[in-house]
Symmetry: none
Subunit: 224 residues, 2 copies
DNA sequence: ATTGCCCCATGAAAATCCTGCTGGTGGAAG
DNA sequence: CTTCCACCAGCAGGATTTTCATGGGGCAAT
């Protein structure tokens, strides 16, 4: 993990740098806005820590430069105590987090970790969409025609599988194998029961049914 | 300032585009929901103007896709005269403003400006807001309906995470990973216990509960 | 020494899950 | 055209799993 630190006070920057390096991060330091901006734009950092008050360019200007280049690197701003809210308000660019000086190092570390983690998480959020039905696998939310639908864990698992294979007929055995993992009794009608639960929540009240039975074969998610 | 306009009627979109460009905004136009969604998710716009009625996906679905990805870009919805309020109200994720067609251009411009201004403010302050609950990440203060709430460090961390992902179901593992960092025992019920503490401090005494459990999945911060 | 926070463990409570059953439907066979 | 039969929808209540809520011990800061 590579972190860029832009901070002009040697004491502060040394303090932060040492702390972060002890935690296993790779840290580069810039001592003014101009150099900071150059590094920020020229390299791919995982996180940038910016002091607001700097020689040449302020941290806010560095941030602006970054964002106008469509760089989404997370930015943690260090604002001196007493920096007027106004100054920050006037600014469009958007940092990801703020920390007011003076601060404890553990506090900084926690935020750095949070930002790095958050960035990692966002990438894996996957939204499955079929017609007017949407399912977010990460957020565990389901919507039909913009209306939120509340599902239990089993129902969610079943719908997710149907969505992943929309248009394809899935046999009870296939559904059971995936949603019920191993604990599945072949003589059971659980699948039927849960398909019904789903129909009540997903299809009921809509003229356009999405869940269909294919007699003797299984179930499909399709329009028609 | 970059604005995305999703509107299928060529006359209307040309009209809005020209007007906004004369005011110095940079405007991109998508003519259907699918392309609109693609652009919205792929680029960092300062504002998105969405027509509700569109080919492929409705504006509401584009909005839903955006919000489930945790994108907080302000959204202005254009609704045709006669669209029932219900349809809009049922919407959890929330547009930031609505405008009923037909509308005057100065009206649109005023709202666009207001949204951009508001966002500037929100982004700067390290204050997370959901309904009548506010949390200041810098000052470490929490308020519900104007009343201050005292939280311990753990409780605060947990609530902050829930707020940052409001509307999204977070599993115990996700919560633990962020709040308890590494020292987390999978067989423990710490998360449950702390959610309980939070409920006592945040939800107790309010008819509108904000912390909800989704059995088998985790916890969410949401209204309803 | 006291206070407040953190976390474990437990039984109670709630929600979900699943079984077993009834009735219905549609297609095939007669 | 009628009868039969395999298959499916739908329900209800008990079994099972999951979550809530609470007491208390350990620990660190004051």
């Amino acid at each position: 993990m590579k972190i860029l630190l832009v901070e002009d006070e040697p004491k502060v920057s040394a303090f932060i740098r040492r702390g972060l390096e002890e935690e296993g991060f790779e840290v580069e330091v810039a001592y003014d806005g101009r150099f900071g901006r150059q590094l920020a734009l020229g390299h791919a950092y995982d996180l940038i820590i910016l002091d607001v008050i700097l020689p040449h360019f302020s941290g806010l200007e560095v941030l602006a430069a970054l964002r106008t280049q469509d760089q989404q690197t997370p930015v943690l701003l260090l604002t001196a105590l007493g920096t007027t809210q106004d100054k920050l308000l006037g600014f469009g660019g958007g940092a990801d987090d703020y920390l007011v000086k003076p601060f404890d190092f553990p506090e900084l570390l926690a935020r750095v970790r949070a930002l790095l983690r958050r960035r990692g998480q966002q990438a894996k959020s996957a939204v499955l969409i079929f017609e007017d039905l949407t399912l977010d696998t990460a957020a565990k939310t389901v919507m039909r025609a913009g209306q939120p639908i509340r599902l239990t864990a089993r129902e969610f698992g079943l719908l997710e599988l149907l969505l992943r294979h929309a248009g394809r007929v899935l046999s009870r055995a296939e559904l059971a194998a995936d949603v019920w993992e191993d604990s599945f009794d072949a003589g059971s009608n659980v699948v039927d029961v849960y398909v019904n639960y789903l129909r009540n929540k997903v299809d009921k009240g809509f003229s356009q049914k999405l869940i269909h039975t294919v007699v003797g074969m299984g179930y499909v998610l399709r329009s028609e």
